[in-house]
């Protein structure tokens, strides 16, 4: 049995929306290097819509895949909808994560929440 689902491996090998948005409207960073996971999300928001999202991640395979999937799930969506993204939705979209890797999907949710908070605080 493989460690990860094919979806996880696909998003790990070919992460979507990798990079930085220089003039981002909201930036969120969660996790810490001590624990081995850091995720940073950059959002571009226009008229209440997440028009662009990029991420950078220091972490394991499932952390990279969770970040990638989370960006796909909110890209092009209204801010209100992005705010409702749950870690469960990220994990399900990846066809599941091993139990001890669920915290990676939690980090992805928290990174987006942090970026949205940053956006709200700047408004």
């Amino acid at each position: 049995m493989a460690l990860y689902s094919e979806k996880v491996m696909d998003h790990f090998r070919h992460p979507r929306n990798v990079g930085v948005i220089e003039d981002a409207d909201g930036v969120g960073e969660v996790g810490n290097a001590k624990c081995g996971d850091i995720m940073k999300m950059y959002l571009k928001i226009e008229d209440g819509i997440v028009v662009d999202v990029k991420f950078e991640t220091f972490g394991c395979g499932s952390a990279i895949a969770s970040s990638s999937m989370a960006t796909e799930l909110i890209k092009g969506k209204p801010v209100e909808e992005a705010r409702k993204l749950t870690n469960k939705a990220v994990a399900e979209a990846l066809d599941g994560l091993p139990d001890y890797k669920m915290h990676c999907s939690v980090l992805a949710q928290e990174a987006i929440e942090a970026a949205l908070e940053d956006y709200e605080s700047k408004k």
Partner: protein, 394 residues
């Protein structure tokens, strides 16, 4: 595939496979049975004991067959503790980077009231014999120090530590799981009282190992039952596995010089090649090191993603990252040599085998360089370091 995880397990040698299959098919008798078919199995068993003993300079009766290295470690330590507590000696000296088979057994004894001193292994991963000497007290019953470390490959001055223990009248056990079959060991010359080994680390089968216990040391059973192994380890002997272990060990021992001469230059080529990666560091002393061990930390990346991408390139390796163990902390070995969490997560262990070529080494070097650079390309940690926010550790 380039298999670079020989510290985890090795491929069985042809000699071991043929010995094992031959015995499974033809010599299935129980060595405890008195008819000749059973006695034939007994002969095979005793010949294996002689062969194993000869390789480490022991007497056959000093060899106890076990299910592997972990069982041998458990039995050695528990036995020494039981001997010690009879005379009120309940202090044990060990090191911070022992295998969990040792550390967890010591934890169990600590709960029973034993006091455990874990010696510093220093930045180079080398225990100082004089510090062993200083740590021994009047109530010390055992010193247990691994021969060579399973993660960073550092080799201890076992002879000097053994001499200290002998002079102080304390039993000395060494977990030699990574050393047997790879280094020349003489238990008498090195003053070793108890030694653990595991067959699958030297091209033997899994589920077999042995404990050397100097004659006169009373062992405590972990498994009660029949009178096998002089009553010290119950259960019908795994004759095919034990004989295959002996075959693998004889072969490995005979080839130590040739293998070392082949492996050391390739190991050092990989160490030099990976050293070209900026902000990387070799873990463990470069010289006093197993011939096949390379262990690096790379700043700004995490080890599991490195392993998965190397796997895609056909390289099988391992890491001390927390994510590869299922726990939150990275390898206790890397922490013991002073690596902080941030960089310990980005570790890579390559344990190369005798079949490796220079071309393989160059492919490993270029692949690791490529993957580390790729992962750093979208690591927020690396971006901050390069931007001057925070300072590099390595």
């Amino acid at each position: 595939m380039i298999y670079a995880d020989n510290a985890a397990t090795t491929a069985m040698s042809e000699a071991a496979i043929s010995r094992m299959t031959e015995l499974i098919r033809d010599t299935y008798g129980n060595p405890s049975s008195l008819y000749s078919f059973g006695q034939k199995a007994k002969e095979v068993l005793e010949q294996a004991r002689e062969d194993v003993a000869a390789v480490i300079g022991a007497e056959p009766r000093e060899i106890l067959f076990t299910s592997g290295g972990s069982e041998a470690d458990n039995q050695a330590i528990i036995s020494a503790a039981r001997i010690g507590e009879k005379s009120g000696k309940k202090h044990i000296v060990s090191s911070a980077f022992e295998h969990h088979a040792v550390l967890h057994t010591l934890n169990k004894l600590a709960k029973e009231g034993f006091e455990i001193t874990l010696l510093d292994v220093h930045e180079d991963g080398i225990i100082r014999p004089e510090e062993v000497d200083k740590s021994i007290r009047n109530d010390t019953c055992l010193v247990t120090i691994m021969y060579a470390n399973n993660e960073i490959g550092t080799i201890q001055d076992i002879k000097a530590i053994g001499a200290v223990c002998k002079a102080r009248g304390v039993l000395f056990h060494t977990d030699a799981v990574q050393a047997v079959g790879h280094l020349k060991i003489d238990v008498k010359e090195e003053n070793i009282d108890l030694l653990s080994a595991s067959a699958h680390k030297f091209h033997g089968p899994k589920g077999v190992g042995f404990l050397y216990a100097r004659k006169g040391i009373r062992l405590t059973n972990l498994i009660e039952g029949g009178a096998q192994e002089k009553g010290k380890r119950a259960g019908t002997e795994n004759v095919p596995g034990i004989a295959a272990m002996a075959a693998a060990l004889k072969e490995a021992y005979a080839a130590i010089d040739v293998n070392t001469a082949h492996l050391v230059p390739i190991r050092d080529r990989i160490i030099a090649g990976l050293g070209e990666i900026p902000h990387s560091a070799l873990n463990g002393d470069a010289a006093s090191r197993l011939p096949g061990n390379i262990n690096y930390c790379f700043e700004g990346i995490e080890g599991e993603s490195l392993l998965l991408l190397l796997d895609d390139k056909g390289i099988a390796a391992s890491s001390g990252s927390a994510c590869t163990s299922g726990s939150l902390d990275p390898s206790h070995v890397l922490l013991a040599i002073g690596r902080v969490h941030d960089v310990a997560h980005g570790s890579l262990r390559l344990s190369i085998g005798e079949d490796i070529t220079e071309e393989d080494a160059d492919y490993i070097i270029s692949s690791v360089k490529e993957v580390v650079e790729y992962l750093r390309g979208f690591s927020p940690v690396w971006r901050d370091l390069v931007a001057g926010k925070g300072s590099f550790i390595l």
